[in-house]
C-alpha cells in the first residue's frame, strides 16, 4: 500500500509543478522583499532601487541621515531647527512616494503629527539643551516590530510592505527612524547621567555591604519590625519608615543613610593594662540606637548612639551606651561601685569567615568598568 502511495505522489509531482512553482517563487520573492524592506527600516538604511526615479533616490538619501552627521547639524542649526529639517525632508520624500493604498497616508499623518508635537515641545523647551521633559512622546516615533503580527508599527499605525507601497512604507520608516535617532542623540547627556547615577548607587551598595556596620536579619527585614510594636510600624531601617509603597524614585534604591540598631549582638573588650591581663572581654547587646551613614568616595563615615548592655563572663552585666564614630565604636558602661567601664567594640557579625567570603563576592563585577566607561 505504501508503495502505491509513493508512486502516486511521484506521478502527481510533474502535473502540479507548473501550477505550484510560479506561485511559490512569487511568494518567496515577495516575502524576501518584505523582509528586506522591513530590515531597511529597522536598520535605518533605506535602499533605493536602480529603477527608482532620481528625485526619489535623492530624497530618500536626504531623509535618512546617518547619526554621524548629528553633531555638525546641531552645532550649525540647534535642536529645533534640525528637527524641522528632518520634517521638511520627510515632507519632500513623501511628496515623491505617497501612494493611496493600505492606510499609507494615515500612517504618514500619524508620524508627522507626533513629529510636529515633538518640534513644538523642543521649541518651547530649554533652548540649546533638550531635556526629556520637553518631549511629549518620542516613543511614538519608535519603529516597533510586533512579534505576534506582521509588518511594523509606527505611531500606533501598522505598515505593511507590499510591493505597491513598499517605497512609501520604507520612506515613513526612514523619517520616523531618523527623527527618533536624532532625539535619542539629543538626550544622550541625560541618558549618560542616568547610567552614571546607577553606577554610583551600585558602588554605594558595594560599600554598604562590605564596610557599613552589619545588620542582623531582624534589623534588615522590614516586615519583622511589625512584630515588636503592636499597631505601629516601627522602622529598623530608613527604607522601612520612609515609604511602604514604592514611588519608583531613585532615592528608594539608595543604601540606607540613616538606620536604627535593634537587639544587635557584638563583642567588646576593655583595656586593663595590668600585669596579669591586658584586657577583659564582654558580649555587648545594643538594644536600640540610630546611625547616620555618610558615603564619601570609597569610605563610609558612620556616627551614632545606642543604648546597650555589656555582659561579662562572670554573669555580671552593666548598662550603658555605645558611641559609633568613623574610627571605631566605644561603649561606656556603669560598673559596680560607680566605676565607669570603657569598652572598645568591633563588628562581631563581620568576623565570621563565611561572612568575609560572601562580602568578597558582593563586590559588583561591572561597576568599576562602568564608571570608567562613562568618564
Amino acid at each position: 500500500m505504501t508503495r502505491y502511495r509513493v508512486a502516486l505522489r511521484y506521478a502527481a509531482l510533474p502535473l502540479s509543478l507548473p501550477l505550484v512553482l510560479p506561485l511559490a517563487l512569487a511568494a518567496r520573492a515577495l516575502s524576501a522583499q518584505d523582509t528586506k524592506a522591513q530590515a531597511e527600516c529597522t536598520t535605518y538604511q533605506p535602499a533605493y532601487r536602480a529603477t527608482d526615479p532620481s528625485a526619489l533616490r535623492a530624497a530618500l538619501k536626504r531623509a535618512a541621515w546617518p547619526t554621524t552627521e548629528f553633531d555638525k547639524l546641531l552645532v550649525d542649526s540647534g535642536p529645533a531647527a534640525t528637527l524641522r529639517r528632518v520634517r521638511a525632508r520627510g515632507l519632500e520624500l513623501m511628496s515623491h512616494t505617497l501612494v493611496d493604498t493600505a492606510g499609507i497616508p494615515t500612517a504618514w499623518v500619524a508620524v508627522d503629527s507626533v513629529l510636529q508635537l515633538v518640534i513644538a515641545g523642543v521649541e518651547q523647551g530649554s533652548g540649546a539643551t533638550v531635556r526629556s521633559t520637553d518631549i511629549p512622546d518620542m516613543g511614538a516615533l519608535r519603529v516597533v516590530q510586533p512579534p505576534f503580527g506582521s509588518g511594523l508599527l509606527i505611531a500606533g499605525r501598522r505598515l505593511a510592505f507590499q510591493d505597491a507601497d513598499r517605497v512609501s512604507s520604507v520612506a515613513i520608516c526612514a523619517v520616523a527612524s531618523s527623527a527618533y535617532a536624532l532625539l535619542e542623540f539629543l538626550l544622550k547627556a541625560e541618558l549618560d547621567r542616568t547610567a552614571a547615577t546607577y553606577a554610583a548607587i551600585g558602588e554605594r551598595w558595594t560599600l554598604f555591604a562590605s564596610s557599613a556596620y552589619s545588620m542582623t536579619w531582624v534589623e534588615r527585614l522590614a516586615a519583622s519590625c511589625r512584630l515588636w510594636v503592636v499597631g505601629y510600624v516601627l522602622s529598623p531601617t530608613s527604607q522601612c519608615w520612609r515609604r511602604h509603597r514604592q514611588q519608583w524614585t531613585l532615592d528608594e534604591l539608595e543604601p540606607p543613610r540613616w538606620r536604627t540598631v535593634f537587639a544587635h549582638p557584638t563583642a567588646g573588650f576593655e583595656p586593663i593594662l595590668k600585669a596579669d591581663s591586658a584586657y577583659r572581654t564582654a558580649t555587648l547587646a545594643e538594644w536600640y540606637g540610630i546611625l547616620r551613614l555618610d558615603y564619601r568616595g570609597d569610605a563610609i563615615r558612620t556616627w551614632g548612639l545606642s543604648v546597650a548592655t555589656a555582659h561579662f563572663a562572670s554573669d555580671k552585666y552593666a548598662a550603658g551606651g555605645m558611641l559609633h564614630t568613623p574610627v571605631g565604636r566605644v561603649g561606656v558602661f556603669d560598673g559596680r561601685g560607680g566605676r565607669t567601664i570603657v569598652m572598645l567594640s568591633g563588628d562581631l557579625l563581620r568576623w565570621s569567615p563565611q561572612a568575609r567570603t560572601a562580602l568578597e563576592g558582593l563586590k559588583a563585577r561591572n561597576v568599576g568598568a562602568i564608571r570608567r566607561s562613562l568618564r
Partner: protein, 377 residues
C-alpha cells in the same frame, strides 16, 4: 550600531554551591541561535568593557546581568540554616517546611533566592534592582559610543522576570528612558512577577505595550508545558485577563500583535550539553525551544522571519539534532505530565484570588521537579 540583548538570570544562579557560572549554558544557547539563524556575530560582554570592542559595532552585544550576590551573602553567612530561615520567613513557613528548605540543597540553592528577593526589601531587592539597571544603562551608554541607533532586547528568566519587571519600573521613572520608550522587546521566560508583586506594578503603564508612554514596546511571555514555576498561583499567572484595571489595554496589545503568550515544549541542551528533566525550567532550554527560538532570532535581527526563511532555516530539524533528554517517552515523563496537570488545576482556597501561598507552591513545584529527576536521572 549594535543590538543589545540583556540576559537576566533566575533563581539558583549563585556561586555558593560551586559549579559553572549560570551564563555558561545560556552562552552556548545564544551561540547556537546565532549560527542557526544566520544572525550577526555575538559580542559577549561579561563584564561590560571600558571601551567599545574593536569591530563590534555591527555585532549583537549580549550582556548577562547577575544579581545573585546578595543571596549568596545570606547563604554564606547562615551557619544555622534553620535559624536564619526562621528570621527571613517569620511565621509564613511551617517548621517542617523550614527543615525541608534547610536540608535539601536544591531548595536551599534555588527557592531561597525567591524568598530573599521578596522579603528583603531593605538590601537584597534594591541591590538586585540597581545591578539590573546599572547593566542596562551602562551597556546602553557604551552602545551610544559605538554610534548609530540602538535596539534593546531584555530576556529575563524565572525570578529574573520579577526582578526585571521591578527594575524596569524604576528605569521608566527616569525621564529620558520613559521619553525614549527604549526597550524594544521584553521577553519573560517562566514569569513569576504576578505572584511576587501587586497587579498594578506588573501590568500598568509604562510596562503595557502600546499604552501611554510605554517603556516596553513589545512583550512576550513564554511558558514551558511541563514547568510548574509559571503556575504557582494559576489564578494570578501572567495573562491579560488577570491584569485588573489594565486588562483591556493588554487585550488591545495582544490584538495588535505587541504582546502574547508562547507555549513551548520539549527539553534539549545546547550542543555538547546534557539535558536534564529539571531543564523544563532551564534558561537555555527556553531560549532554544522550537516555538521560542525563531521569535527571539527575529527580534535580534530586527525583522520577523518569513515562512520561507523559516523553511530554509528549518529550526525544528536543527532543534531535533540538539542533545535530547534521555527519557522523552518513559514513565518519568508520563508522571511529570500527570503531576503538572494536577499542579495547574490547583484551585485557590475559598475560590477567591489570594496573593498568599506562593512560596508553599514554589516548594511544591520544586519538589515535583526533583521527583521527576529521580525517575529520569
Amino acid at each position: 550600531m549594535p543590538t543589545l540583548v540583556y540576559l537576566i538570570h533566575g533563581m539558583g544562579c549563585g556561586t555558593s554551591a560551586g559549579g559553572s557560572p549560570w551564563s555558561a549554558d545560556v552562552k552556548q544557547a545564544m551561540a547556537c541561535l546565532q549560527k542557526s539563524f544566520g544572525l550577526a556575530a555575538l559580542e559577549w560582554m561579561d563584564p561590560i568593557p571600558d571601551t567599545v570592542p574593536k569591530g563590534s559595532e555591527k555585532k549583537t552585544w549580549v550582556i548577562p546581568v547577575s544579581y545573585y550576590q546578595a543571596f549568596d551573602q545570606f547563604r554564606a553567612g547562615a551557619v544555622d540554616r534553620a535559624a536564619a530561615l526562621r528570621e527571613v520567613a517569620g511565621g509564613a513557613l511551617s517548621d517542617a517546611r523550614i527543615a525541608d528548605l534547610a536540608r535539601e540543597p536544591f531548595l536551599w540553592n534555588n527557592c531561597l533566592d525567591v524568598l530573599l528577593w521578596w522579603s528583603d526589601k531593605v538590601q537584597a531587592r534594591p541591590q538586585a534592582t540597581v545591578a539590573i539597571n546599572t547593566a542596562i544603562t551602562a551597556g546602553d551608554a557604551l552602545a551610544r559610543k559605538a554610534g548609530g541607533k540602538t535596539r534593546r532586547i531584555v530576556i529575563a528568566h524565572s525570578l529574573g522576570t520579577a526582578a526585571t519587571t521591578y527594575a524596569l519600573r524604576y528605569l521608566a521613572a527616569s525621564g529620558p528612558w520613559q521619553a525614549t520608550g527604549g526597550i524594544d522587546h521584553f521577553i519573560t521566560l517562566a514569569n513569576v512577577a504576578p505572584f511576587l508583586m501587586p497587579e498594578d506594578d506588573v501590568y500598568s503603564p509604562p510596562l503595557l505595550p502600546g499604552g501611554q508612554r510605554p517603556l516596553v514596546q513589545t512583550f512576550a511571555n513564554v511558558r514551558q508545558e511541563l514547568d510548574p514555576i509559571p503556575w504557582l498561583l494559576p489564578w494570578r499567572r501572567h495573562a491579560s485577563a488577570h491584569a485588573g484595571a489594565w486588562a483591556a489595554g493588554w487585550a488591545t496589545a495582544e490584538d495588535m500583535g505587541l504582546a502574547g503568550l508562547v507555549e513551548s515544549s520539549g527539553v534539549v541542551a545546547p550542543p555538547n550539553g546534557k539535558p536534564e528533566i529539571t531543564h523544563v525550567h532551564g534558561f537555555a532550554n527556553y531560549l532554544l525551544a522550537r516555538e521560542v527560538a525563531p521569535m527571539i532570532a527575529g527580534m535580534i535581527r530586527g525583522s520577523n522571519f518569513t515562512p520561507t526563511e523559516l523553511a530554509t532555516v528549518d529550526w525544528p530539524a536543527q532543534w531535533a539534532a540538539l542533545p535530547q533528554l534521555a527519557c522523552p517517552n518513559t514513565s518519568a515523563m508520563t508522571q511529570l505530565r500527570a503531576a503538572m496537570a494536577t499542579f495547574k488545576a490547583h484551585v485557590a482556597p475559598g475560590g477567591d484570588r489570594p496573593e498568599g501561598g506562593w512560596f508553599e507552591r514554589l516548594l511544591a513545584g520544586a519538589e515535583l521537579l526533583m521527583a521527576a529527576k529521580k525517575s529520569c536521572p
